[in-house]
Chain length 345, copies 2
């Protein structure tokens, strides 16, 4: 069973992929499917002795280019559709024990090219939205420890990006400006929530951070996707991202789990779905969001009743305090040579 | 620090309550703040030898009736507001070791009156939305094991209920009907996702269930809130709810953690915020949603990158299978005298 079903009480689609119950779950390190397996000794995914970054289709995909027909009959009220799309795995290193925060700026820089390349390829395949993301840490629910991210290509714009695009459309209609441009300008002017800033990219703890140590990375310029970020911009982001990840790891003295998402211009769909009558690029400002689940060194932020049922986030750390703590952690790492020390403004 | 901050990139408010970092965290059973503490021996909340249900203000509230002024200056782009509202605790029993699934139908019936009463009182205080909910189980993040729920009264309609109301408004505008009425009628006609059904209430696993064993309970009739549910309707719901909770506990052989929310007609705010030009009651159909986090007896469903960053849920159990499993669990419990055996249609 592999299909999408429509929830008419929210207007959102939910995907069902029952074969995923059997997916690989925390395999031992000597049979990791993401480690180099040149001879196919344990049916690994990558038949090479080593690699820098590897991208391939997820063996247990929720979305497929040629999905089977839905198993259930839908209705006008509750339609059903094939679970069309793509699920890719992006392995960051052939070293099982490293992490994105430790692979180094060169590898991070290469990853930006990979994201840009997959965005172009998957967009050209006709998918409406390309979402690279990373789940890191067992508390997040990762089932494979080998450092990797994923890319989902959706045939419709998923709910959260669509809500952001809709808010951007309202802001643009009201002010004539891009909301992310305005936020970045305000943060650069204020400075107390900025944690790392290059010439072209700024990382800050949002004024409204839903997770205490959430960090948002945005280009200062209005660039809709990595397709518009040139080599200098990618170099700059690599430095900022390395510093943010180093700071997160240094913050509590352990490697920080997180969820990271990259939000780009849709590659399909009608801007009217976001209430916009212009081009997607008018209201799309590329940004990365990193949400770590810890609120102290020992306490997790859970999405319980208020967040889950209300959609209303309650947070108990001031973003200005979180940003100051992160800046201090990055400064310590930079002094020890573990961060680029891009700086803050 | 206690304030609400606006996120212009989504149009949602986030609440900050830094004093909550110090809230009580899994206290030992002999100093449980929710146990009867008639002599005030450990500064408990309830100075009585026993009680049926107790309701009082949360000692560590995120929202308060008379909040302090915001600590930070907002702007037109990112406004800030006092964190006004109410946070109440609803203790289900003086017995520390019981749970809502085991207090019995009489106590559940009383809880429905409590929800109705608090809805009326908090609505009359001028709050825009009253959200009763329960977080159950350490995997959900509960900090107190004593069986209890909570009620938040918000001064604006929180994001998730507002999304449901907006979808209901679109459906009503397109069809002239209530979407929840249509869903309930379709489920009653189909039957394969219904898990328990009384004369007036129906519990079913939604066609689009985001969590595998999610259960939605709705009155068959278009009733906007508990204010409109008469004594017979409350009796009926008590039986259905007891059966659903008994079935969830029996499903995997351990007491099922869950998040439960009760969605009612807003008590304030302008229906125009949901795109509706009539009354809230036109598009508000009372319902309860119970979301357990387990997808198998040993595996949790995590809200990782796709869900958290995309807002797109991926599920690996067919709702029809989940409903059949829950029906069988309820039938076993009813045969053993642990469920009311309200039945299914």
């Amino acid at each position: 069973m592999s299909e999408r079903r429509f929830d008419p009480t929210t207007g959102e689609w939910v995907t069902f992929a029952t074969h995923r119950q059997e997916r690989t779950f925390l395999p031992p390190a000597d049979s990791c499917p993401l480690c180099p397996d040149p001879a196919g000794a344990w049916d690994g995914e990558i038949r090479r002795p080593e690699f820098d970054i590897a991208v391939f289709d997820n063996r247990f995909p929720s979305l497929r280019p040629d999905p089977e027909a839905p198993a259930v009959a839908g209705s006008e009220l509750m339609p059903v559709a094939p679970a069309r799309g793509r699920c890719e795995v992006v392995v960051y290193s052939s070293d099982h024990a490293t992490s994105l925060s430790r692979v180094g700026a060169g590898r991070v820089r290469l990853l930006l090219d990979v994201w840009a390349d997959r965005y172009a390829v998957l967009g050209a395949e006709g998918h409406a939205y390309v979402l690279p993301f990373e789940n890191k840490g067992e508390v997040i629910g990762v089932t494979l420890h080998h450092p990797h991210g994923q890319i989902y290509a959706f045939d419709e714009i998923p709910p959260r990006p669509l809500r952001e695009l809709s808010a951007a459309a309202r802001h643009r209609a009201a002010t004539g400006r891009c909301v992310e441009c305005d936020v970045v300008a305000a943060e650069v002017a204020g400075g107390d929530r900025v944690v790392a800033a290059g010439e072209r990219w700024v990382a800050h703890v949002p004024f409204w951070a839903r997770f205490p140590y959430e960090v948002r990375l945005s280009p200062r310029e209005h660039l809709p996707s990595f397709a518009a970020v040139d080599a200098a911009g990618r170099d700059d982001l690599a430095g900022v991202l390395v510093d943010v990840l180093a700071g997160l790891d240094a913050l509590f003295g352990f490697e920080m789990p997180y969820i990271m998402g990259i939000f780009s211009e849709p590659t399909g769909g009608d801007p009217a779905a976001a209430g916009w009558d212009g081009a997607w690029s008018d209201i799309s400002h590329l940004h990365l969001l990193i949400s770590p689940p810890y609120r102290t060194a020992t306490k997790l932020k859970y999405l319980a009743g208020v967040e889950s049922m209300g959609g209303a986030f309650m947070t108990d750390v001031a973003p200005e305090t979180a940003a100051a703590n992160l800046r201090a952690a990055i400064a310590r790492e930079a002094a020890a040579g573990h961060a680029s020390g891009v700086g803050t403004l």
